[in-house]
Symmetry: C2
Subunit: 615 residues, 2 copies
């Protein structure tokens, strides 16, 4: 366990991403939507490229960052002005909330300095979920925010860009209006995770008709980590593009670690409450009770957790279906509940108490992330009876949650070979009424530990294209160890590119703008623009400099692949000049045979110099 972190140890990375600046786009109801703008070389004549921005105030040089104080409460007035919440005294923190069951309380995490004491809860009989508002026809500021945020560059290109893509039955609009957001939330096809006790969060939507999102997992474990590094990983992961963050802490200090993360997070935070409940009973799954679990839900809802993974689909009769699997049950939450069910030989209390859980969810607007506790843990176990039996139950639970106007998404696998991926999406859409799908990869082979961010990015890109709304990242350390800061970044960037590949293939309007801008920069040897437009400008520049470190090489009209003497990009520019000067389409080109000698002469006149020095 780490020592209590001193103030100076709570360092996070701040400042703009290279080549970008933070902007705020104003909208109705007082919303100011954060975006990132990548400024291009003035000589290029190209407008700046706006990109979706998850990084919060940390990349805004104008923001004052104080981890000890937490972020400003962006949504504070929106929440309070709706008139359906009341302040209540926060449940008192007990030693067992931080896993301090015995006399040894060393290695604790200091409580967050600004513990609020009083928290929000829906007034008696009220339902504060975004879904509830949506179904009553109310467009909330959260929905306004999402609409502006999702459009990014779309405004600029209306009427300009032909739609291109295969969307497998999605209903992606040309332009996202607040009313469209409301409709999607109302029918359960999208969620806006937004606990009323997490007013620091910048609203975002998860749904198949919005941009594909990614989640990064962080968290203490029983064998490693400390709160300073977890807060840092949270800030680091959103810097590179994590849309939500799950705090999967186990072991001790769960409550306090989470408070630090929530108060400093501009993105929705998800948890798996059964992890903390298990710590409260000393790690003995059989000793879990509904009362302890319920108390944990309230504890976390009061802190502001935006979505809960709840493995309510792990039903007693499904457990024997896993016995003949190659890798059995690999979900931690799933195996905890399986053990409880077997030990008591009773149906899961999560399943039986599901409506009671809904009552808690709607009092804080916590969204369900219905866990796939029986997901396959290997290629061999993909798409089996255990998995799909649970999925059918998740569909049944979705309908119950929706009856309560509680937001729901559905978790998916896992390990699935490519030819079995589409069936996962199809069955999920059918069983769960288009509730957003949230998958972990899937990994498309088991033979590459150390590279499972890649084995899974293949599956993630594909299932994202097919309709999955959010992709849970996998880092290079998957199956092997705990991700460090570098692993978190690699995982986030890998999933960001997979999500973007899916957006392109689905035909999201404007998704291609950034690809095109980068490709033009590449073609025109605007190296800095190419770096800045990439998902990871630092790595792109570093790789370039390993071969051609001289500063001049960043404006040179060649690269290390072909060198200065011969460059295919330069030749293409000549082809282009030539074709345009001759005004030659393919037909005229061929027809003009009589002029060939002359054309050849002209080309030679101007074509002898291939390498032009940089301007």
């Amino acid at each position: 366990m780490a020592d209590i972190p001193a103030r100076t140890e709570l360092k996070v990375t701040t400042g703009p991403i290279r080549g970008s600046r933070k902007i705020h786009v104003p909208g109705p109801q007082g919303v100011r939507v954060a975006m990132r703008e990548i400024t291009l070389d003035p000589g290029s004549g190209e407008p700046p490229v706006r990109v979706y921005d998850c990084s919060g105030p940390y990349t805004d040089p104008a923001a004052h960052i104080d981890i000890m104080a937490g972020l400003p409460e962006l949504r504070r007035e929106w929440i309070r002005s709706r008139g359906d919440v009341e302040e209540v005294t926060q449940r008192e923190v007990k030693p067992e909330d931080n896993g301090q069951l015995g006399p040894d309380r060393s290695g604790g995490v200091p409580p967050f300095p600004h513990v609020r004491g009083r928290v929000l809860r829906a007034k008696a009989g009220a339902n504060v979920s975004q879904m509830h508002y949506a179904r009553r026809g109310i467009i909330t500021p959260e929905m306004e925010y999402v609409a502006i945020r999702e459009n990014v560059g779309r405004a600029a290109l209306q009427e300009k860009l032909a739609r291109d893509g295969q969307d497998f039955g999605a209903s992606i609009p040309d332009y996202v209006t607040p009313e469209f957001v409301r409709e999607e939330v109302a029918r359960g096809r999208a969620i806006i995770p937004s606990n009323i006790n997490h007013p620091e969060s910048e609203p975002m939507a998860i749904g198949r008709n919005f941009l594909v999102k990614i989640n990064a997992n962080i968290g203490n474990s029983a064998v490693a980590s400390d709160v300073a590094s977890e807060v840092d990983k949270m800030v680091w992961s959103i810097r590179w593009g994590a849309d939500t963050v799950m705090d999967l802490s186990t072991g001790r200090n769960i409550h306090d670690t989470r408070e630090w993360i929530l108060r400093n997070s501009p993105v929705p935070i998800g948890t798996v409450p059964i992890y903390q409940a298990l710590e409260k009973v000393g790690g003995i799954a059989e000793d879990l009770t509904w009362e302890i679990f319920r108390d944990t839900l309230i504890e976390q809802a009061e802190q502001g957790v935006d979505y809960f993974t709840i493995h309510a689909g792990v039903r007693l009769p499904y457990i024997p279906l896993t016995a003949k699997r190659v890798t059995g049950i690999v979900s931690r939450g799933g195996s905890i509940m399986a053990k409880w069910c077997l030990a008591h030989h009773k149906e899961s209390f999560l399943y039986e108490r599901f409506e009671e859980i809904c009552e808690i969810m709607k009092a804080y607007d916590v969204a369900f992330s219905l866990g796939d506790g029986l997901r396959p843990g290997s290629i061999a176990d993909a798409n089996d009876e255990a998995q799909f039996s649970e999925l059918a139950t998740l569909g049944e639970l979705t309908q119950i949650a929706w009856k309560h106007d509680v937001q729901v998404m559905i978790e998916g696998p896992g390990h699935v070979p490519m030819h079995k991926i589409k069936a996962n999406m199809d069955k999920q859409l059918e069983a769960c009424g288009e509730a957003p799908f949230y998958t972990l990869g899937p990994l498309t082979t088991d033979i590459a530990p150390g590279y499972d961010h890649i084995t899974s990015a293949i599956g993630a890109a594909m299932i994202g294209w097919f309709g999955t709304a959010m992709l849970c990242y996998v880092t290079p350390k998957e199956h092997l160890g705990l991700p460090d800061r570098d692993d978190v970044k690699v995982g986030v960037v890998t999933y960001k590119l997979a999500a973007h590949a899916a957006d392109l293939a689905k035909g999201h309007p404007a998704a291609k703008l950034r690809d095109d801008a980068l490709s033009r920069a590449r073609f025109e040897f605007r190296w800095r623009d190419q770096f800045n437009l990439s998902l990871d400008p630092d790595t792109a520049e570093q790789y370039h400099d390993q071969t051609l470190p001289a500063e001049g090489a960043k404006t040179a009209h060649f690269c290390s692949m072909c060198g200065p003497k011969f460059c295919s990009m330069k030749i293409t520019q000549e082809v282009r000049d030539f074709a345009s000067k001759q005004n030659a389409g393919a037909e005229t080109f061929i027809a003009a045979e009589q002029g060939m000698a002359e054309m050849s002469e002209k080309f030679r006149e101007k074509g002898s110099e291939i390498y032009l020095p940089a301007e």
Copy 2:
């Protein structure tokens, strides 16, 4: 330029891959097929896992490796005993072959010490291509070798494994016979690149009904590299699984660098001869002539190059089709030919002299890799008229090559968003009569330079599944710089996992054996077996040790994710024991409600201890 490497600088990595040993499986006609066998923990009761092995004698502790002498000539007698070749005096090496045009000859590469002087060529009127033999009903030792090599573990599992996969019309046999190999080569659906002057090579097949292969690119460039590091990269890339290697050297020392590589390579070597031809004319594309190109083909065929990328599909009328592209022509060979065509305003000599090229190819058994000189260089340019016009021409050229019994594969893109990938495969199959497709990725987005091994692995896995026979790797340095040793390894392992994901999805028999063995090892906490079964045991172990460095952790029944207190894998083992003891299928499980209390009691009796110390 590097200094002339001293003997001691020519170091390559030798010795077995961790946890593996080299075996040789004997077959008819004196073939002994190299494979790698991964030995598992004796306590597991599992047989060793045999895997396809590209690494040649370098991983065989019994082999004597001397880079200065080259590898033994495995195929020497096979080639000579066919009675259709003659020894001729090798074309004399000219200064311009190594780009030494001017008086400055510093920075040269020493010639390979054992220059042969005499080389093989088909006797007058003979055709020594594997396709020619196949069409005459001859099963060569090369075909025997391929058949045994492709089966890997299939023999063990006949009648055991149900076929599972979606093969999109491929004809993958349960078991590969020499006759099947012959048929596939005869009909042009597979090639066995095997220049008679590269007897060091271990035969391998490229075709949609065989395992998906990968290629690694290496080579000097005008701005960096030296021969020692290129030989090292070749050996390093095959160690991790490159099935073929392309030497894409440009600049100087092309001839000598290639000789070092060929004499030490157990895998087929491909080149792009126009690169060297261009150097011979001082980099001035317009000055290229058929005679210089022809001389270069013979020079390289005599050295033993197994396949030539020839951009004969870049026809004059297609060039203007690229003028409005975002990234024009990005193929170096394509742009060289485009420039030549424009400068002379004549049809490409590669296209016009194609039958003459075929005559050279069949005299040495060099296979065509028909280059896609007009491949898209960005998402914006994917699947456009220029690209598909060229593909139609490649189909036409395939028929001409086949008329000469010359082996052919077809190169493909490039940059293609996911929803446009399948069309590439479908059109290629239709236009080129199922000649093997050999694609570069494709990259599925342009916004992640620094991670293009991943953006392209997504596309590569998909197009491999759809039917592409060989995937050309992309390293993290793509678009940015020249790959170093680490990049080569990352590129190879990334493509190996993509190819394997494709094999799984196509339903190659036995492909899943390795996944299953690794998954069982994972489930049973056989950490060393998990490492050894992975594509990169060194990285897997290193990542594990970063979190749990103690030696004991490698036999511990837990991992760093959940820690010792609670582990989902352990719980599953309990579920399994429990289910099997009760002999409970799902139905009996539910039916036995009256016995629930009793079952619960039994479970508690044995279930209190979750963490069992390692044996």
